[in-house]
Subunit: 445 residues, 2 copies
Amino acid sequence: MAQKPSIPKGTRDFGQLEMARRNYIFDTIRSVFALYGFQQIETPAMENLSTLMGKYGEEGDKLLFRIQNSGEKAALAPEKGLRYDLTVPFARYVVQHREEITFPFKRFQIQPVWRADRPQKGRYREFYQCDVDVIGSDSLIGELELIQIVEEVYRRLGIRVCLHINNRKILAGIAEVIGAPDKIVDITVAIDKLDKIGIDAVNAELRERGLSDEAVSALQPLLNLSGSSAEKLTALRTILAGSETGLRGIEEMEEIFELVNSQRSTSINSQPSTFNLELDLCLARGLNYYTGAIFEVKALDAQIGSITGGGRYDNLTGIFGLPNVSGVGISFGADRIYDVLTELNLFPTSLQSATQILFAAFGPDELRYALTWAKSLRANGVAAEVYPEPAKMKKQMGYADARQIPFVAIVGGDEMAQQKVMLKNMATGEQQLVSLDQLNEKIRK
Amino acid sequence: MAQKPSIPKGTRDFGQLEMARRNYIFDTIRSVFALYGFQQIETPAMENLSTLMGKYGEEGDKLLFRIQNSGEKAALAPEKGLRYDLTVPFARYVVQHREEITFPFKRFQIQPVWRADRPQKGRYREFYQCDVDVIGSDSLIGELELIQIVEEVYRRLGIRVCLHINNRKILAGIAEVIGAPDKIVDITVAIDKLDKIGIDAVNAELRERGLSDEAVSALQPLLNLSGSSAEKLTALRTILAGSETGLRGIEEMEEIFELVNSQRSTSINSQPSTFNLELDLCLARGLNYYTGAIFEVKALDAQIGSITGGGRYDNLTGIFGLPNVSGVGISFGADRIYDVLTELNLFPTSLQSATQILFAAFGPDELRYALTWAKSLRANGVAAEVYPEPAKMKKQMGYADARQIPFVAIVGGDEMAQQKVMLKNMATGEQQLVSLDQLNEKIRK
């Protein structure tokens, strides 16, 4: 009885081309992380529900995938759930392993997460996150390095980006000076939607959330400050003069800009700038645990929202009993980066086929001969396949075509007698009789 | 309120050194797969329970982790479960995507699987599998390439191994000639335990499973055939003369040995042999879907059981409605390979620290200076860290020590004035004042 196979909604299979492209993204990110000394860790797919519950708000709790207990406890309430993000497991990891960890702890983590969200275009129930954090230091060098990492990753991927930066302390200062210091969360949640719903809807939401008309009015010029980032910061200094927190936020921003600029203008190996860094007072990021700088990266040439984001937090591990550990981190959105690279046609064509050459043999003796040649190429690091049967040449060439293998080495009796193969360039159709040395030479360049 | 954080039993966190070592294993395997043109795919962690149920026997069904439905359907019986292995999802993948796949399909897959097994030493509820298969061809070139892959992977890892090989058709032939043709499954299940429980217990089990005393007696000399693999095959030819299936199995084995030997003795780039290939008539592998060659790899210098295994199957996809697709595959046991490399002290020491150099600055100006130098090194591909604060030198050196970073560049006012740094080799304690060019030179070699 045949079952019609399928996969759960909101999940995906990744075929070889998608995998090659996803690996290209992850390998690029990973290699940049490594240059800065970030170390990879992995945590289990399952966490205890007590670790996960209450960390993502009421809505988040509902989106946790719960795992039925096994054995005798099957009827009882689930005790385990699938990882919902990499942040909470990371906080749990830091607290659990704090005796073994050398701080500042620079870690990255690339693993799937699961959310019982309603599946829709671009939203999946299983997707990869790619987080990088430095924890256990409040030095703004952390922010600098993450900014440099963003610049370098997108330079390598060929995506032009703008890195929007803001500071929670500035937002808190704004809440103070407009007379709504207790509304900082409401303000950030509302203005976080500015891009999506527009200023009028944001203002309506602010009023709904209990801001007075005066406070909303006072907020408007702040959201509309113009000029360069430096000019905005100067203007803010006056406006936030009455808020100690706000002024501290401005100082942090000034130092970050100064650090980034001094490193970019340095004469040693200055690279062409492929990205802009911009103070964006409308950037809020809804998550409550941010306490300092917040980041969001947008591609300049694609309309797709944020492709990387993060910020500074002062108490991520407090929920697990380790207070006052400051850290800063960002998360790369692999699915969106994939979409941008696809839209802009930026994936290297070499990802189409890892195999560089297929040997196609006319008969069993030729097949043996081909195996020997393939072995020699592989010993030189060349990815080589041998069609496993002396099938019709049309079938073998069709295989090379479908797999987009750039070269085919055809082996018949004549070629074998001459200790050669007929090398066909699949793009140009060109054919050439070559020796093994010539073949090695040709393929490697 | 502090919660004491922990992870579900049978699961593991992987810290940076474990990750570096695991990545070393996976990268080694992956790079060999790539040389042979195998392509990576990934399937979702969750599969429909209908895909998984009934594929692993009654015992297996019990070990599936079931995922509670979300939303309104929460009270109903679960519809999804976590992947139990990579074989069934692969069969499902092949059937579901058969229109897009170019056959023969050479795929590999490296992903975690989950089993609600009782956790014990060396047995986990979450662990990685690493499977490689070629499907859609019955050519024995498939067996050859997998054998070559095993040889090359273990050569690169430095592990001396013996590859035990047998054939299900030979086992079927044996069942025939001892007069118990319907007992082939019972015979394979029982003799599969020979290594663990010994010949007497195996014989007892065979009788329990309904084999007559005569059949058990007739089986003994076959399990004890001596001599080289070729000699055993010759002896078998006589014994199995009455079994067509058995003779076909012998032919397959002879061809595989001949293929492997002809490729090994070839004059082109013959590599020193680091492994033995051996016909092992006691090798059965309990899984029922094998129909031809079966493999198992054991490390010669560690007592740890099989570290790689697999075989030929003729109907893996039949359960999903696509019959008669022949394939052959093997699975590398990453956890056991890890244990062998640890036991034999074979992990490269370079895995201890990815970071090659730490900059340790005496003050804020020195820190800026160090950032510029680090940037230059990174542009040359050197993994460099800058301690993010001008902390006490002891603390910064302690960080380098704990992280096992091989070089520290110390920056004080004097060094800065001379446009140099004091380079300390952490292994030897040697110190040397160097320019940026000299540093680049020293670190890269």
